[in-house]
Amino acid sequence: MLRRKRILVLLVPALVLYLALFLFPAVQSLWVSLHEWTGFTAKMKWVGLANYRELLHDELFWMSLLTTLKVLFIGGVLIFFFAFLFTFFLQAGVRGRKFFRAVIFYPNVVAPIALATFWGFLYNPRFGLINGLLRSLGLESLTQTWTGPDLIFGSVLVSLVWTYVGFFLVIFSSGADKIPEDYYDAAKIAGANRLQMFFHVTIPLTWDVLMVAVVLWIITAIKLFEFLFAFSGGIAAPKPLWTNAVYMFVLSFGKRVAIFRLGYGTTVAVTMLVLIIAFTGAARFAMRRERVEF
């Protein structure tokens, strides 16, 4: 009993910080979303649920929500597929495992703005590396306007996958590294091949790690902003790249064409929070398993 009380006392500072830095702003955001507010005045104008009603008929909101969901699901599937694939190969005893892992992780240590600029150059229709490579191989007919309205989302998605695979690879690998060799030895004796060992030993024993990774990706995808915004040279992200986070920024602060509707922008932010809670809750529910201890 005394021990429990001590633990509770020790938890108080963290709880206070959590309430002050997360819960209070979240509740305040909900309050702001019920107002019309430029963000520059002491008083906000109460509009009740009008901002939420406006969202229902706001084409840009639905367009940006669709883009957010495409990033979340299509991007998520691709990132996890490649992260698993690389984990499989690296766990299979490739020489220089740490080196390859560091190389694949590398994009995560570079600022998103620098990455966006780098990919912008790769995709440039005239002097970009991709079209240049196709031309040098005599495949002029395959050159595309990669960052044109029809292809820009797919092009940016490829660069996002390239960026984030390394992050999730490191998470999966760190989980897989903790699995005792005995399990693999036993699987080998039982006649399992590497693929079977991956699916029947590695994945089940890293299930908790996988669940954390899914939650992290949901949060990352729904909040994704800098990379997309920077892709246009930082002036005005093309509309196919507008996620909810970009739209919220445009509504609230903007850059060169600023709208200053902080109340309405906060409404979009609240929907993002709801999305995060809903998707993480759903993911945790769908992925619940009996805990495997080893």
Partner: protein, 432 residues
């Protein structure tokens, strides 16, 4: 020394100290700027601040070089109870943020009654007649412009000479002829960063104003009934834009050009002309090939149109004073230096800005521009983004997406006008 004399001396010394203290009472002002450290304009403003502090030791001006997200910084400062004294931004952005909220000092009386720093006239009179009209909101001047950016068509004179183009086009048919000639020479007639939606609006907005009259597009945007969009001039403007696209006058793949790729390609001779503000030369100056000579001409007139060839559109950058300033007179005393001949000359020569006051020489690369400005028949609000927009939500929700679709060949000119009208009516209904 007698007691009375001693007392008098002490009183005198106290009074003197008090007077000195009063005269020298320290004032600290904060200057929030949209410029980044290292930009030429920032360096010039910083020099002006340092010179002012040297001349006025009791005044400290603390600059905050916040870059183009200065509005985000401003919001945090205002809400944190520490607003700056100066806000350096585009007048439209100032109006849409702190102007409408009633937080800015109306500069009109200060501009009209204060003597200029290095000229024997009032600050107001240093600007050309009517200069402040486009930047007056609700009868109030929130900010004093210090840089000006006119919109013209840029070209490389050397390239035009090589192509045998001896005269720049005055009218739209002449412009199309020039485009055709350039295209036949294997060069893209027009460079464009199509990834920037407000750059894509440039051709439609200029054509619309040349046809329906200057600021005709602005009037249509504010027409709550939407009837203005029935003016055939707008359909004609959209049709001419579409014709340019269909004839392949924009650089191949312009839809995918992300800033600044398009203007760099133009500078390197991959495209012949570029419709953009006068801030462009300083952005491309490090990418120019040998023999490049800047040339410019005003957007051509359209036969039968109401807008004139020398009616120019412009955006400006300026400085305003917030009402919470510690000392409005000291603040303006500093600010007027930014509109002085000395500082404006530096802006022109070093930062390649068009001066806001009269009688300041333009740099050599603006030789054509100087000639254009001599014939200038009016200055009008620019539509196409720039640092500010008079109706930003309309632009983001309606004009930019639809102009993109028109420029990218996704919708016809008739569909474009129809959709703009329908959405404009809905927009204003929503706004009440």
């Amino acid at each position: 020394m007698g007691r009375i004399q001693r007392t008098l001396l002490i009183v005198l010394l106290v009074l003197l100290a008090a007077a000195m203290g009063f005269a020298q009472s320290p004032v600290k002002l904060v200057y929030l700027s949209k410029w980044n450290t290292g930009e030429k304009t920032q360096e010039i403003i910083n020099d002006a601040i340092n010179e002012y502090m040297k001349d006025n030791p009791n005044v400290t001006i603390e600059p905050i070089w916040a870059g183009r997200e200065a509005n985000v910084k401003l919001m945090a400062m205002v809400n944190g109870g520490t607003p700056p004294d100066f806000y350096d931004e585009d007048p439209a952005l100032i109006e849409n943020s702190v102007g409408k909220s009633g937080l800015m000092v109306d500069l009109t009386p200060l501009l009209k009654n204060t003597k200029a720093w290095d000229q024997d006239k009032k600050v107001w009179d240093c600007f050309s007649k009517g200069f402040f009209e486009p930047w007056t909101y609700r009868g109030q001047v929130n900010c004093m412009p210090i840089q000006q950016y006119l919109t013209v068509v840029w070209y490389n004179k050397t390239m035009f000479k090589t192509l045998g183009i001896t005269k720049t086009p005055d009218t739209w048919p002449q412009f199309l002829d020039v485009c055709e000639k350039i295209k036949k020479a294997g060069i893209a007639p027009i460079g464009l960063d199509g990834g920037v939606d407000f750059y894509n609006l440039y051709y439609f907005s200029h054509l619309a104003d040349r046809i329906t009259g200057m600021n005709g597009l602005k009037k249509a945007i504010y027409d709550k009934s939407g009837n203005s969009w029935d003016d055939p001039g707008f359909l004609k403007a959209a049709t001419l834009v579409r014709e340019m696209r269909d004839k392949g006058y924009f650089i191949k793949g312009f839809e995918g050009y992300q800033f600044p790729a398009g203007q760099i390609d133009w500078a390197q001779g991959k495209a012949a002309m570029l419709l953009i503000h006068t801030y462009m030369p300083i952005e491309v100056k490090d990418n120019l090939p040998d023999g490049f000579v800047f040339g410019s001409f005003p957007f051509p007139s359209v036969p039968g149109g109401k807008g004139k060839q020398y009616d120019l559109t412009s955006i400006v950058g300026g400085v305003g004073i917030m009402k919470t300033t510690k000392d409005v007179n000291v603040a303006f005393d500093f600010m007027k230096r930014l509109a002085s001949k000395k500082v404006q000359t530096r802006f022109a020569q070093e930062a390649l800005n068009v001066p806001v006051i009269v009688d300041v020489a333009l740099p050599d690369i603006f030789a054509d521009l100087a000639a254009i400005m001599k014939k200038q028949t009016g200055t009008f609000t620019d539509y196409s983004g720039g640092p500010g927009q008079f109706e930003p939500e309309f632009a983001q929700a309606i004009m930019y997406p639809l102009v993109d679709q028109l420029m990218f060949g996704k919708i016809s000119p008739a569909d474009f006008i129809k959709q703009v009208k329908t959405k404009a009516v809905d927009y204003w209904k929503k706004k009440g």
